[in-house]
Symmetry: C2
Subunit: 390 residues, 2 copies
């Protein structure tokens, strides 16, 4: 799993770039690598440590050669070069978090039982400022009636140059407030090769597997993508369902549920000058523990509360939510939070859970939310704590 | 709480209607009454047993006298009679479930601790086919640019003839796929007095408290409604927060989280002819238990899976989802489900939890999701079972 058979002498991975050494690599062919802790502490992740989740190789394509074809429901096609997109459509920037559906799978394996897939810890998630043109505008230009389309057009399928494919519901594709982009920049720079250079789809609030990289074809259809990543694989089943399910009985993952992780636990001592200042900001003078992390919910649903516990969920407090401002019509980016608690109150386990604006919550236990593929692990994140040897 | 002081000789409740005897009455002045089990088993609730949640009296108003005023951000007003609405706008029918934010509060009190508010069991929820005109169309007619409105217009406030008020985000109010109505019919009949005759707002996927009844004024504003039901009261806090919170720190409830309840547990015996037939449909020949209930999620998010357990959550099965078809752009109505399990597998507690299309789940425990007002109780619903004396 994760390895693609290489069946001829030509190495399809020959175009893969060198990667930053700080990434935590799960597999290199295809590349699957986590954002390190330092990247999880920033609101916007630096491009070179944005997590990488490739299903195959990085295809060879360039800004001057790349074309994208839009196929309308009646079969008519319209082709755009990168230059066409940049010259003829208004550019937009959206701050959006992408999360791999396998993020925190390792937590599910540890707290429940074996899961099938790469064992991502909490770094299968990153945030970027994406710049591109609105898919809605391009579809309208191609002749699709974006506000009054017929009922039988139900999905927008995306094909990548390497062979990956996926789809999203048409109403998300054309939603004025959906902020779906054909993106060519991350944080003001051209997309890095690993992230879809020269063009990718960006579907905010939706599992990253639908933000197809190296996109060169869009098909508006009655049907979802026929790819295995749409029809199988990226789906969740009940805790009782084994490894050979009827895949058609579960929906393909699109919007994702409310999620949180602790990314840092740090001892603070009043004997350190730097710590003393930070402690004072929080009204404390004693040995303490600083806790930081992220919370995020799909569908543009804002995080409204983060509950943290220093005693494995017996008692709760509210973390301070950082006021980072993202761009876009909805809350497409994660919320960073922090909490400082006197060490005297710190038990063996720190725990976090969040609430989104629809008052959706995270489940406490892993067993009753287990799914054999370990997708969308979002039970309470629990991190062990040991006081420093004094 | 629940009682309104009557300070003069005129009885404001004199216009309150007689109610169906089958409703489970919590308070009568104002009327708060639950739908009985028979109403929870139908996809569409009969009008006379739709749950009643009145904050005050039923105002005296008639179809011929009733007017509604739309106040635009610049202060300009436009008035419509019922006849204007019916004559000049296309009518639409939407199948939508409304749920009181206090539904299942009694469960939270029992499983965690004391909560402030009426102790609704599982019947503070009902479903209807609502007919009316689109709020979007009326606002457009009144001169509001529904697709390109300025950023500073953020809320649509609604005022009821009795004095109640609430608001919803403007993007929900004008969303083409939001199905917000000015409704004048329930299940093909004029609204009953308890449900807003002659006109109410219907906000599908949103807590019922925003579907203002007897509506006579709409104000488009930068601000939410200033009513206590918007600014206080209908908000949730952390499990650690007591009865005197800083209300401004929590958002007013709008979309609601995924929810489920068991509405019926019934013993089936192969010695009864009727039961035998039902058992056979489920491939069973032995003494069994039939379980039925509803699941629902806010925001039009479809229910994709219902997990049921006959042993207090130790092992899980998937319930059969009934294929009722509602009208409207999204899944605004509840999903009915059923399950039949051999009595031999039935333990002391039956449990249900559901998953919506964003793969949001219900929390298992009540303590860590406790809020002192007992709003939006959605932890696993647990019902005791006793086998019949044989
Ligand atoms: Mo993924
Ligand atoms: Mo309510």
């Amino acid at each position: 799993d994760g390895q693609v058979p290489v069946e001829d002498l030509h190495d399809p991975f020959e175009n893969d770039p060198r990667r930053d050494k700080r990434l935590h690599v799960h597999t290199s062919r295809p590349c699957n690598a986590e954002t390190p802790t330092e990247g999880l502490g920033a609101f916007v992740t630096p491009n070179d440590i944005f997590y990488v989740r490739n299903h195959m190789w990085v295809p060879s394509t360039s800004e001057s050669d790349h074309k994208i074809v839009v196929e309308l429901p009646d079969g008519e096609e319209k082709e755009y070069s990168l230059k066409d997109l940049k010259d003829n459509f208004e550019s937009t920037t959206v701050t959006a978090t992408l999360q791999c559906s396998g993020n925190r799978r390792k937590n599910m394996t540890r707290e429940s039982r074996s899961t099938k897939g790469l064992q991502w810890n909490v770094g299968g998630i990153s945030t970027s400022e994406w710049t591109g043109v609105r898919l809605r505008d391009v579809l309208a230009d191609a002749g699709f009636p974006v506000d009054e389309y017929p009922d039988e057009v139900r999905h927008a399928q995306f094909m990548g140059a390497e062979a990956y494919g996926a789809s999203i519901p048409i109403d998300k594709a054309v939603d004025r407030r959906g902020d779906v982009l054909l993106a060519y920049e991350m944080n003001g720079k051209p997309l890095p090769p690993d992230h879809g250079y020269p063009l990718r789809v960006l579907v905010p609030g939706t599992v990253a597997a639908r933000s197809v990289k190296w996109v060169n074809r869009i098909v508006l259809s009655e049907d979802e993508s026929s790819s295995e990543w749409q029809q199988r694989d990226y789906k969740c089943f009940g805790p009782n369902v084994g490894g050979n399910p009827d895949w058609s009985t579960a929906p393909a993952i699109q919007e994702i549920p409310v999620q949180s992780a602790i990314t840092s636990l740090r001892d603070l001592s009043p004997h350190s000058q730097a710590d003393r200042q930070y402690l004072r900001l929080h009204g404390l003078e004693e040995d303490s523990v600083a806790v930081e992390g992220y919370s995020f919910s799909g569908g543009g649903r804002r995080i409204v509360r983060v509950d943290v516990s220093a005693d494995n969920g017996r008692t709760w407090h509210q973390a301070e939510l950082l006021s980072d401002k993202g761009k876009g019509a909805k809350a497409w980016a994660w919320t960073r939070w922090r909490w400082v608690v006197p060490r005297q109150q710190a038990g063996r386990w720190f725990v976090v859970k969040a609430v989104d604006e629809a008052y959706n919550t995270q489940p406490s236990d892993y067993d009753s939310n287990y799914n054999f593929r370990g997708h969308l692990t979002s039970s309470w994140h629990r991190v062990g704590y040991r006081p420093p040897d004094v």
